[in-house]
């Protein structure tokens, strides 16, 4: 039944070692988002895709990159994770014409050691 699926649920990576988080969706939505959510804080938008068009938020560090090879899949790459990048990473989708309802995955909890 899950419509936005994130893998893995938990990821431990070493300081400075590249890591990739993945997201897939069965909703066929054009728009996909990546949010970062630190402990007890609100989700913060990193970037989004409309189809294959990538859009970065102005304050998203260069350390964060993303790929969307097709409609269903989207990846978050962290090139050199720092301790401050430990967070929950949330993938979401939305349908064009539905401005307020985003469908979130369960998130990947990233720990940097």
């Amino acid at each position: 039944d899950a419509m936005v699926i994130q893998n893995p649920r938990y990821q431990v990576t070493q300081f400075g070692k590249p890591v990739t988080l993945s997201c897939s969706q069965t909703l066929n939505h054009n728009v996909m988002y990546w949010y970062q959510q630190k402990s007890s804080q609100a989700p913060k938008l990193l970037f989004h895709y409309y189809d294959k068009d990538f859009n970065n938020e102005a304050d998203t560090p260069d350390n964060f990159q993303s790929r969307r090879p097709n409609t269903s899949f989207c990846f978050l790459d962290i090139r050199s994770p720092g301790l401050g990048d430990a967070a929950m990473y949330l993938c979401a989708t939305s349908r064009v014409g539905s401005p307020t309802e985003a469908f979130f995955g369960q998130g990947t909890r990233l720990t940097v050691v």
């Binding site: 936005v4 054009n30 728009v31 988002y33 007890s40 804080q41 609100a42 989700p43 913060k44 938008l45 989004h48 409309y50 189809d51 068009d53 859009n55 949330l90 979401a92 939305s94 064009v96 014409g97 401005p99 307020t100 309802e101 985003a102 469908f103 979130f104 995955g105 369960q106 998130g107």
Partner: protein, 116 residues
């Protein structure tokens, strides 16, 4: 700049009572305000939204009130149940992206605890 904030970090209510979660916003230009629920270990889930030209909207057991004069948003949950225990975020719909999609700016969240 845009900001959406909440008054209380934690709200405890007895099962069966009504809950009221409050939120203040600063961006008067936003045309939608939204409430999301986030259960432990899960992603946020859409609850209800309200357009800025409305002052009240009702859903199933939930009511959202918007007071534009004081830039205040509230979520009322009737007959609160244990399954309502979660963090509740208010959010505002921000700029529309070229092609499609919208930026959602979330507030800091209120933890709702339902006591049996």
């Amino acid at each position: 700049g845009e900001s959406v904030g909440l008054h209380l970090p934690t709200l405890s209510v007895q099962e069966g009572d009504n809950s009221i979660i409050n939120c203040a916003y600063s961006n008067s230009a936003s045309d939608y305000f939204i409430w999301y629920k986030q259960e432990s270990g899960k992603g946020p889930q859409f609850i209800i939204d309200i357009r800025s030209n409305m002052d009240k909207r009702q859903g199933q057991r939930v009511t959202v009130l918007l007071n534009k004069t004081v830039k205040h948003l509230s979520l009322q949950i009737a007959a609160t149940q244990p399954g309502d225990s979660a963090v509740y975020f208010c959010a505002e719909k921000g700029k529309e992206f070229t092609g499609g999609g919208n930026k959602l700016t979330f507030g800091t969240g209120t933890q709702l605890k339902v006591e049996l």
